[in-house]
Amino acid sequence: MSEIFSPVSVPAAAAPATGEGPGVRALLIGIAVVFLGLFLVLPLFAVFAQAFSRGIDAYLDAFREPDAWSAIRLTLTVAAIAVPFNLVFGIAASWSIAKFEFPGKSLLITLIDLPFSVSPVVSGLIYVLLFGSQGLFGGWLQAHGIQILFALPGIVLATIFVTFPFVARELIPLMQEQGSSEEEAALTLGASGLHAFWTVTLPNIRWGLLYSVLLCNARAMGEFGAVSVVSGHIRGLTNTIPLHVEILYNEYNFVAAFAVASLLAALALVTLVLKSVLEWRYAGDLAGGRAH
């Protein structure tokens, strides 16, 4: 008896039954942190370091150029069109897919996700094939004096394409998780469909909506490959911020390139911080309870 029930002294450093010992643990943490630091964080740091390498004046010089301002204006304009478009699309798509039962749903979701698996360059190419001078509608457009390619409409279209799935793919699983019973409750209490949407559905998806709009916006403002193909790189006219960065860099104007790039890097940082805050505070209100 005494043998069996004698208190067992646990050595403090004993390898736990279901985990790694402290040594292995420290090693793995070290590898992960150093690797991520060198590989992911250092480039971000490099952007700001390069941007300010010749002092604040050189940094600000990059923004005294009118081309920089027109690039910023264009990027804001494109995002201001593309993001609301995808927002409305995402709400409509998720409402019809999550609240109703019909065949072919998973195919539909796959099609909505498609732009994520298409190379950015190809995303631009498909619009060139449609609207370019030798494209499907090229002749007709030229005859009617409508400019889509190498102009704002082409850039907006390509941006909408690459950011198309963002809102829908967040909202569909979120609405599916939430089900329809709150909307049904609102209807039994006499609310109209629209009233139920505004007072019940929208408040329920608001954090998921904000989350997806944040990511959608970051991508819309930062998209490079697709926009590069359709923009035509006309300085002061069809250059977005990322394209302007490219031109400056290729002209060996590194400080200006990194200065302008620092705007996008700052946007990425803000996005990342807000995204993480949403994940920590409102995990339950995001699809799949995105708690990391």
């Binding site: 709150e182 049904e184 409750a185 609102a186 039994t188 209490l189 006499g190 609310a191 109209s192």
Partner: protein
């Protein structure tokens, strides 16, 4: 999936829809509410045809199984929702809404909880808020889907009694769905038993217990054993010995007799309909439950308070004091 069925609900009554899961009871409730549409058939409210009426205009109060409270609204806003959703012309004044919400909070004994959010309430409190929200619109009929399903045993019991009180006080016509026999029998004025989309029987709790209309109802309402018997001269005989059970009119020949545990009595072998050996015996909530094993190996449950004097292994006889035979 529902099959042809017709159910009359009386004004002011508390009707329990009882059935196993998948029996269609929730579907029926949703059809009445207008949340699901029947392929055929009609729904009448006091003579008015409500079949084509959208859910908003049916004036039903629906309490969902998991309450479906609006998470982002306070308790008071939840209760006021139906009033606020009305068109301006029909909407009560702000002060009036506030007063009614206050009354309802009193009714559900949650005065002072108006500013809380659903996530800050216990399961039983949420259930009561859901009920108040449904009552706020003064529905013609109150529909409750498994109202106590998600609660633990003690809260369930308290809420049951409380719901009955509220019903008696308000006289609100109420239909509730449950798969729990005790709950339906304790709470309802009348019980409707559903099975696989069919309405098996409607009646007061006493009626359905004393005269179950089918084997399904009988089995669903409690334990029973099945005995081979013979109908002869208006009586049912088991192994040649007469029982007090009446045979259905005109029935002659082999029948199946269903016997409840408390309709069996332990007796000496020479007066018995059935026999076996006591296997175990235990007491539960004032009842003596004895398990008797027949020669064939079948175990019969018996409730007989005097049965305790037989030790396990003792051979005993069983007398049938009642039972049910179906035509």
């Amino acid at each position: 999936m529902l099959h042809d069925l017709s159910l009359d609900v009386r004004a002011g009554e508390l009707l329990g829809l009882l059935g196993p899961s998948g029996s269609g009871k929730t579907t029926l409730l949703r059809v009445i509410a207008g949340l699901d549409a029947p392929d055929r058939g009609r729904i009448l409210f006091g003579g008015d045809d409500a079949t084509g009426l959208p859910v908003q205009e049916r004036a039903v109060g629906f309490v969902f199984q998991h309450y479906a409270l609006f998470k982002h609204m306070s308790v008071a806003d939840n209760i006021a929702y139906g009033l606020n959703a009305r068109r301006r012309a029909d909407r009560p004044e702000k002060a009036e809404i506030k007063r009614r919400v206050g009354d309802l909070l009193d009714l559900i004994r949650l005065s002072g909880f108006g500013d809380r959010y659903p996530s800050q309430l216990s399961g039983g409190q949420r259930q009561r808020v859901a009920l108040a929200r449904a009552l706020a619109v003064e529905p013609r009929v109150l529909l409750l889907d498994e109202p106590f399903g998600a609660l633990d045993a003690q809260v369930r019991k308290d809420l049951r009694r409380w719901l009955r009180e509220i019903h008696d006080r308000t006289g609100q016509t109420t239909i509730f769905v449950t798969h729990d026999q005790d709950e339906a029998l304790e709470l309802s004025d009348r019980v409707a038993v559903l099975d696989r989309g069919r309405l098996e029987q409607v009646g007061t709790p006493d009626e359905v217990q004393e005269n179950p209309s089918s084997v399904t109802v009988l089995k669903f309402l409690g334990d029973s054993i099945e005995v081979e018997a013979l109908a002869d001269g208006g009586r049912v005989r088991v192994r040649g010995r007469e029982t007090p059970v009446r045979a259905p009119d005109g029935a002659i020949g082999p029948v199946r007799l269903y016997v409840r545990p408390w309709q069996l009595q332990l007796v000496d072998l020479d007066a018995a309909h059935l026999s076996g050996v006591v296997r175990s015996s235990y007491r539960s909530q004032g009842r003596q439950r004895i398990e008797v094993e027949e020669a064939g190996g079948r175990v019969l449950a018996v409730e007989d308070f005097d049965g305790a004097r037989y030790a396990p292994g003792h051979p005993v006889g069983l007398r049938i004091n009642g039972g049910y035979v179906f035509a």
